[in-house]
């Protein structure tokens, strides 16, 4: 089993340290913290999204780096008096408090359970519609993202049964509802339903609603919180279903969002990457390689071009990590479905640099190639989870790798089924017609076997989409007429339509710019 899988999937790379600092006093509130919460509270009341965003993205991290490198922030009770004991603000503060703790320290079981309770209270408030705040998309995304992350982290933690103390097991039994998979999925689903986001996106298509154009914000005095949380919850559901190995359902949850278009999910880099990573991965597992290649190509190009703007972002390391993982997934897709034409030049040269040598070995289909598929998959796959609690009455075993092993095994099984396709590909590339007899001699198999290989090729390169329509992923087109194979050279037509559309928009932009210039 590849050891690379056991990577720490944490948002930050800081080595987790246990609470060693004895001088941490949860009740001590430094001035900088007091100023921070008072200002943040005011900006939230005044719906000043810009200032909220600044404080949330910058100030919070600056103070964390300076004062709370390896200790938690002051407890919520200590800051509550400074913010009128505002219930919702305290829930938000605790959400950040736990997020900071998870990122920099090792949460205890008690803290994991408390964090779950806090999410429940927070989502209850939002779901009952008593919130009238306007929060930055980045923050709302982080909430959903962190919620799913902590769920995943909890499942991993619980599955390592061998190292649990009796006390921990007693707590796990007592709070068996904390981070239950039903609870997690139902909260995400409730946010989707209650926000009516699917309806909003549908009405937007007919021009009856503005959502995407306003980046999800409400400029009519309302709140964006529920609907944007609902929107991001669809991505959350995609991710949870991927973690469970339910790729079909995951993609179904995402269907209301048109992935080919700019959308609110592209306004936050973390959400953009998470969406495409899981969307691409699910399509890869469903053998829809062309779809996966297209989306990976687009996002990798986007990251390549915009990377420099995120260098100071707290998400920078996570961006780089997902970037590398998606190159590995792209390498897998292209090895199984060699459609290099779909990949843009910059992405292609990066890919060659990182995986060129491995990719050429992966096409050999021997044990070594097999090991490389294993290695790349293990490095790049999501951190799969077993959602069910263990049977506490049976001997305690670790089962944290079970889900991953199953997905890996089934993936490698698929690779093996496609094993003979590479051989036939090389021949089909160089002939325009060839008899089955001749081809079978070259491939050193009998004619009946050759027929099965050619049919397998057709089957594996033609997938059924959600509507039952057959879509071709084939890099080479051929057909058999009686006992002759006819190969058609495939030419990808240039997509002029898209090109012209983009140029029209660009020209309009240039003309607008020129109109704005006033000559002295």
């Amino acid at each position: 089993m590849a050891a690379t899988y056991d990577h720490d999937d944490h948002h930050h790379s800081n080595a987790p340290s246990t609470l060693s600092s004895t001088d941490y006093d949860p009740n001590f509130v430094p001035d900088s913290v007091k100023t921070f919460v008072v200002l943040l509270y005011r900006h939230i009341r005044e719906k000043n999204v810009y200032e909220i965003h600044q404080m949330y993205e910058t100030t919070f991290h600056t103070i964390s780096d300076r004062k709370f490198k390896d200790t938690p922030w002051p407890s919520v009770d200590a800051i509550a008096p400074s913010v009128d004991n505002d219930h919702v603000f305290c829930l938000l503060y605790r959400e950040m408090w736990f997020r900071h703790l998870y990122a920099r320290m090792q949460p205890t079981l008690k803290q994991r359970i408390d964090s779950w309770d806090n999410y429940c209270s927070l989502f209850q408030v939002v779901l009952h519609g008593v919130v009238n705040m306007q929060l930055p998309n980045q923050w709302l995304w982080d909430m959903v993202d962190e919620f799913v992350y902590q769920f995943q982290s909890f499942c991993q933690y619980r599955a390592k049964m061998k190292s649990k103390t009796e006390q921990e097991i007693a707590l796990l039994r007592q709070f068996d509802q904390a981070w239950s998979v039903y609870g997690v999925l139902n909260y995400l689903q409730a946010l989707v339903d209650k926000s009516m986001i699917i309806d909003i996106l549908e009405r937007e298509k007919e021009g009856l609603e503005q959502f995407t154009a306003d980046d999800g914000y409400d400029y009519n005095g309302g709140s964006n919180v529920l609907r944007v949380l609902g929107y991001f919850s669809m991505v959350g559901l995609l991710r949870v279903h991927c973690l469970l190995g339910d790729y079909h359902t995951g993609l179904k949850c995402m269907r209301p969002i048109d992935i080919s278009q700019h959308g609110v999910y592209t306004t936050v880099i973390g959400s953009h990457i998470t969406t495409i990573y899981h969307y691409g991965f699910a399509n890869l597992m469903l053998r829809r390689y062309v779809v996966a290649i297209r989306e990976f190509n687009k996002i990798l190009l986007y990251i390549y071009k915009t990377k420099q703007y995120h260098q100071k972002s707290p998400q920078y390391e996570q961006i780089l990590k997902k970037n590398e993982q998606m190159y590995a997934l792209l390498a897998i897709c292209l090895s199984l479905c060699p459609q290099t034409k779909l990949v843009e030049e910059t992405v292609n040269s990066q890919l060659r640099e990182k995986y060129g040598e491995k990719m050429s070995r992966m096409q050999r289909y021997d044990d070594e190639a097999f090991a490389l598929y294993d290695e790349l998959f293990s490095y790049a796959c999501p951190k799969f989870i077993t959602p069910s609690p263990p049977n506490y009455d049976e001997p305690l075993v670790n089962y944290n790798q079970d889900a991953y092993r199953l997905q890996l095994k089934l993936f490698l099984y698929e690779v093996k089924q496609q094993q003979l396709l590479y051989g036939v590909r090389t021949f089909l590339k160089v002939y325009s017609t060839i008899s089955l007899g001749k081809l079978s001699t070259y491939m050193e198999v009998d004619e009946a076997t050759l027929r099965t290989i050619l049919m397998t090729y057709k089957h594996k390169t033609h997938t059924v989409d959600a509507d039952g329509k057959i879509i071709s992923n084939a890099d080479i087109d051929f057909y058999i007429d009686d006992d002759m194979v006819h190969i058609i050279e495939s030419k990808t037509p240039k997509r002029y339509g898209d090109y012209f559309m983009r140029q029209i928009a660009k020209l309009e932009g240039v003309m607008n710019d020129m109109d704005r210039i006033k000559l002295e």
Binding site: L244, L406, Q417, K458, Y479, D482, D498
Partner: protein, 234 residues
């Protein structure tokens, strides 16, 4: 669209309808587990099929393994095999714990799926005849695999020797004559005599065995995308 996948019909009974609705309205509800199990049996009896409902049930099993019923899983998997060329079988396996997959009946089904995935029909029919006891529980299994075999052949071949077809669908002699007659009516197949080699069957034309029929859809633009530049053009 050249080839129509013959889908197992969607259920029509009113009770069935409510199960579909249950799944749509509340997919993460442990209380609907018995309904979903009954629904699997109903699919088996009526010849209908719902992947979404069955995945929903497998998901509930995944959440609460102690409620898992292996006979139900076997039925789901056989129905999924019948849905080939769709990858439903694989989708179900992703959700079934490895230790369960180790059971003899599931190992057999996995081998059968492997033969279908790699178009080894001769081996498939051999293996299937040994596993009658598992497969007979689901009516229509053979016909479903036959239509999958015809699908693959139609993707690959313009003309195919009678013997190759016979092996793929596991039908010979008079029964095959009858099958061919029916296909010539339904799909326009033509049986050709060729000197010495026996019959050759011309399969119906589609964009996969006649690539020249492929529509050049690559350069069409969706109306939705055009709406973006309308304000500019206006």
């Amino acid at each position: 669209m050249g080839i129509e996948i013959q889908k197992q019909p969607q259920p029509q009974q009113t009770t069935a309808h409510t199960v579909e609705q249950l799944v749509a309205v509340n997919p993460y509800n442990p209380d609907i587990l018995p309904d979903l199990e009954n629904y699997v049996n109903e699919q088996v009896m009526s010849g209908s099929y719902s992947l979404d409902a069955n995945l929903c049930l497998l998901r509930l099993y995944q959440f609460e393994p102690e409620r898992m019923s292996t006979p139900i899983i076997a039925r789901i998997l056989i129905k999924a095999l019948m849905a080939m060329p769709a990858s439903d079988f694989g989708l179900c396996l992703f959700l079934i714990p490895e230790r369960v997959q180790m059971e003899e009946q599931f190992k057999t089904l996995i081998v059968l799926s492997h033969y279908l995935e790699t178009a080894r029909f001769r081996q498939f029919w051999e293996e299937a005849s040994k596993s009658r006891h598992i497969l007979e529980a689901v009516p229509g299994f053979e016909q479903a695999v036959q239509s999958y075999a015809v699908h693959i052949l139609s993707l690959t071949c313009q003309r195919v020797p009678r013997t190759v077809l016979a092996e793929a669908i596991n039908v010979e002699g008079l029964a095959l004559d009858k099958f061919l007659e029916q296909q010539s009516i339904e799909r326009g197949w033509i049986v050709e005599k060729s000197g010495g080699k026996g019959q050759i069957i011309i399969l119906s034309r589609n964009e996969f065995n006649h690539p020249e029929l492929k529509k050049n859809a690559a350069d069409s633009i969706q109306l939705q995308h055009i709406t973006r530049i309308l304000p500019i053009l206006g």
